[in-house]
């Protein structure tokens, strides 16, 4: 048992060593480029900061859905010969990811809170407790919740309108930049091939 614990600790240390070695290669979605692995302890709320992709990987990594926002965080790979355009794309994607995360986390949290308060007030009006006799949490049926759903939707309508507009703009920008970067890479590769053939 003690050996297992020691092995686990060693494994943990090994992961951290890899991270410090590749700190230039991956950027976190903690907002801003080049967030070092050493700083990951400072951002507990960003799940992306606790994960470190293997050193040999040249791709982005996508994680499980966040518990609050349900969005999957991405850890972006920084290629060695990243062009200014590529850097702009990566930073914009990181910024969009953070922005999205903030919006949906707050949206979902406020929904859950509002739902709980609604259930509480309705149950109180009925004279019931939050937990029934069996210890199970008492819930309202979908029909009873309908008033809350309608209310929540109308309260957040303006917020969603702003979000939608911004999201569409960002989505188009990211895709357009991706296209430009892909074109740039293809052009570069073509250029190298031409020089090789020339030599």
């Amino acid at each position: 048992m003690a050996e297992a614990a020691a092995a686990a600790v060693r494994a943990g240390r090994r992961v951290r060593h890899v991270c410090s070695g590749t700190r230039r290669c991956f950027s976190r979605a903690g907002g801003g480029a080049g967030l070092l692995a050493a700083e990951r302890g400072r951002e507990p709320e960003s799940r992306a900061s606790s994960f470190c992709p293997p050193a040999h990987s040249c791709n982005d990594w996508i994680g499980p859905p966040d518990s609050q926002s349900n969005l999957r965080p991405i850890v972006f790979h920084i290629p060695k010969n990243e062009s200014p355009l590529g850097r702009r794309l990566r930073e914009f994607r990181q910024e969009t990811q953070v922005w999205n995360q903030q919006f949906w986390a707050s949206q979902n949290v406020s929904f859950r809170k509002g739902k709980e308060e609604f259930i509480y007030s309705r149950l109180k009006a009925k004279g019931l407790e939050m937990k029934g006799e069996t210890g199970q949490k008492v819930t309202l049926s979908a029909e009873e919740m309908a008033d809350f759903y309608k209310d929540f939707l109308s309260k957040n309508f303006k917020k969603h309108m702003c979000y939608n507009r911004e999201w569409y703009k960002r989505n188009f920008t990211i895709t357009f930049l991706m296209g430009q970067v892909a074109f740039e890479r293809a052009w570069r590769r073509l250029g190298w091939k031409k020089t090789k053939v020339g030599n």
């Binding site: 809170k113 949490k137 309608k150 939608n164």
Partner: protein, 442 residues
Amino acid sequence: MSAARRCGPPRALTGLFVWHLPKPAVRQMPCKFMHCCGVVNKRWITFQHLNFLKRMYVTQYNKDLSQQAKPKSDPVAPPFLEKKHLGQEKTVIREIRPVSPLHPPSSETLNRNEFKAVNSAAVVEDLATAVGAESKEEKQWKEMKLQLDDLPGILARLSKIKLTALVVSTASAGFAMAPVPFDLTCFLLTSIGTGLASCAANSINQFFEVPFDSNMNRTKNRPLVRGQISPLLAVSFAASCAVPGIALLTLGVNPLTGALGAFNIFLYTCCYTPMKRMSIINTWVGAVVGAIPPIMGWTAATGSLDAGALLLGGILYSWQFPHFNALSWGLREDYSRGGYCMMSVTHPAMCRRVALRHCLALIGLSTVAPILDVTTWNFPLISLPINLYISYLGFRFYRDADRSSSRKLFFCSLWHLPMLLLLMLTCKKSLLEKEDKSELFS
């Protein structure tokens, strides 16, 4: 548990642990626990030790739950539960797997050595579970590398292949119902063209809706949400389906069908998709989107927009309402949270009324079919049973307004449409009959 009542600090500390729900708490736990062990009173340590492990399991349980993206199962302890008396957490613990075998706290007989053994075993277990949980989370991280083997499956899901198949079959029904001799080449070109147009439209729809799809149970496993394909590739795929599809329809069939196909893609991607989050009118726009494919099939065969085409379109249009309104009834929570403007959330009574109204309209449209020479008079008669049945379910949905009636109506709509189209095909007015009639009158 008399020790608990005697000592103030344990309760306060355990209270502290309750608030430490995020994951760093799991790593901090062993350290805090080691600190606790430094306290002198053996009896107090014993109780604290057990209580601490209780917290450990509660946190673990919550952490596991919190990994799931399902909004229905409440992962985070809701604000109201936290205010409740701590004693209630005992009931939560009973539901979790039993605590690992420890010597029961007969504190008088427990000597120091035994306690130390139990202590180190618990520490190792805590560390192992902490590392285990972390590696389990790490395993869930996937490299965003496109696997060519998976590409067909990914593209099938991106283009909503099952829905596309349904759309193509409605277009084929429109083609088959047209009062012209059946042309196989034209039929195949129409089917392929419509299929490609539908793939393109569905891909663009998914491209627009990534963060919204992530937050809804029904759609959270889509390829773009899971990062299996990049947005650029999705758009490229959509373009590479739309261009050949519309070109095939315009050049291989006729320009009218091509124009209808292009218009439908535009309507679905640029009108319906954004409108879903702006106004409930999106449902009517979506119904038109569903009605256009059979019209396309008809115009592909005849080359013109006849009354028969509009009738078929009308039947599909009316069918959309019981189908979609019943489906949306069960998704109200997700729609509300995600910001979708749907009748079922904003105007529930209207939602049910419209569904019923259109179920009855289907009976009316089936009766109009022979009048327009699309089918014989057998059709309204033999389609009456299924039309009455769906109307009955529509009425039940209207009256009861609950989940079971909405589900019944939705599932009925799934078999009702193919059945109706099949019956229509069997009752198609044959060309010979039409020629005889025209000769008689001439």
